[in-house]
């Protein structure tokens, strides 16, 4: 690749903001892969619109990260000029789209968390994060409603849609633990009221799952073993492929504008 990668500073608030930006960017990019391929026109529009919202949230977070870092980097530098091990997104969002059921279940598991997370973040002691949270709450509410309705429709649909939804839930559930894990570097931020405490978010997430999965006739996996590593930059092979596709143009043609 023609363009060199950037190095970023080691700062706790910066790292925490970057991690949330990475969650939104990677999931937004995944959803954008459906553009032109969704099972119906309405869903093509819906997934593209949700992708736009998420990439918009990512841009706001990257912009804020850039002001914290104060190293002259831009949102594009963070998106296009970091290598896989420098990304701090949770593993759930980088998982491949799979079939439509996989995409919807992944979206539901994330949205149920994101909606509760951004609601809690509106009272962050950090004014910039509280402002970004206030923008993200209504967006994530629509994302959650969309994904929840589809989870019910698939789970309570045909034998095949039910099987596919249950397969997706079984496959993706082990990736939900990372949403509630607290990296050592974030404990101070939580104590300081800058980051929401995941323990306060979990009840809303669990309540949503219990209600929606029951309505969908889907069984919540009982396994408690959880995947982890994304927040430390240890990713599945899928992220490398995703980034190769996302980054090839700016890496090959430095300074390209499109």
């Amino acid at each position: 690749m023609a363009t060199t990668s950037i190095a970023v500073v080691d700062d706790r608030l910066f790292a925490a903001v970057l991690a949330r930006a990475d969650d939104a960017l990677i999931l937004g990019h995944r959803l954008s892969e459906w553009c032109g391929h969704a099972p119906m026109l309405e869903e093509d529009l819906a997934l593209a619109n949700i992708a736009l919202d998420l990439i918009g949230q990512a841009r706001l977070l990257y912009e804020y990260a850039a002001t914290i870092e104060n190293a002259g980097h831009t949102e594009d530098d963070y998106a296009y000029r970091r290598d896989p091990h420098q990304f701090r997104n949770i593993l759930l969002v980088e998982q491949p789209n799979g079939d439509f059921a996989h995409t919807i279940i992944r979206q539901y598991l994330y949205s149920a968390f994101a909606h509760a997370f951004w609601q809690a973040m509106t009272s962050s002691a950090d004014a910039a994060l509280a402002a970004i949270a206030a923008k993200s709450v209504p967006e994530s509410a629509y994302h959650l409603r969309h994904a929840a309705e589809w989870t019910i429709r698939l789970g309570d649909g045909t034998e095949e849609s039910h099987r596919r939804a249950q397969d997706a839930l079984d496959a993706l559930f082990p990736y939900t633990g990372e949403m509630f894990a607290i990296p050592e570097t974030e404990t101070d931020l939580i104590v300081g009221g800058i980051l929401a405490d995941p323990a306060t978010i979990r009840p809303a997430w669990t309540a949503s799952l219990d209600r929606i999965l029951a309505e969908a006739g889907l069984a919540k996996p009982q396994s408690t073993w959880m995947q982890s590593g994304g927040r430390r930059g240890r990713h599945s092979e899928h992220l490398g492929h995703l980034l190769a596709e996302m980054q090839i143009l700016p890496r090959s043609y430095p300074g390209a504008i499109w």
């Binding site: 937004g28 309405e42 869903e43 529009l45 819906a46 619109n49 949700i50 992708a51 736009l52 919202d53 998420l54 990439i55 918009g56 949230q57 841009r59 706001l60 004014a127 509280a130 402002a131 970004i132 206030a134 923008k135 993200s136 209504p138 967006e139 509410a141 629509y142 409603r145 969309h146 309705e149």
Partner: protein, 163 residues
């Protein structure tokens, strides 16, 4: 009696306020609540705008349109400032904006008040005003709209979602 000349700030406000939204051209950015302020800061005419949605792809176009409108009004040294707080909501749409949306076949958003995001308040048909309507899709041609149909007059229509 002579009327006082409009100030530079007033002229700039008028020019910026008249800029149409690129995706809802029947509305101006002032009616939509995107235009937050026009001030003279240092030697600049500073126009403050706020995005409707985080990922609204129209913000860059809106900023360019404002620059052009100010330039055409003979105003130089302009700059655009983007603010996030307080977050834009559909409650900022003026009554005139809501009436214009309905006249253009787009059902305006309900009042945000309680929890409009999840309640099931009926969305009246902008053509025949029937409440016998149903949502076809959560997201329409733009992030701010959903797609509905009226079971009374059989017409599909866009709904500007409460936000």
């Amino acid at each position: 009696m002579s009327t006082p000349q409009p100030t530079l700030r007033d002229r700039a406000w008028s020019a910026a306020a008249a800029v149409p939204d690129p995706e809802l051209p029947m509305l101006t950015i002032a009616e939509l609540g995107i235009l937050r302020g026009v001030e003279l800061v240092d030697r600049f005419v500073e126009v403050t705008i706020t995005p409707t949605y985080s990922g609204c792809p129209a913000m860059a176009a809106i900023a360019l349109d404002i620059e052009r409108a100010l330039h055409e009004a003979g105003i130089e040294n302009t700059r655009i400032r983007l603010v996030l707080a307080p977050a834009w909501t559909t409650d900022w749409l003026t009554d005139e904006a809501r009436a214009k949306l309905a006249r253009n076949g787009i059902a305006p958003p309900g009042a945000r008040g309680s929890n409009c995001l999840f309640d099931n308040t009926p969305v009246p048909c902008p053509r025949c005003e029937s409440n016998a309507t149903e949502r076809i899709a959560e997201f329409g041609a733009t992030a701010c709209k959903s797609i509905w149909r009226c079971t009374a007059c059989r017409e599909p229509f866009d709904h500007f979602k409460c936000h």
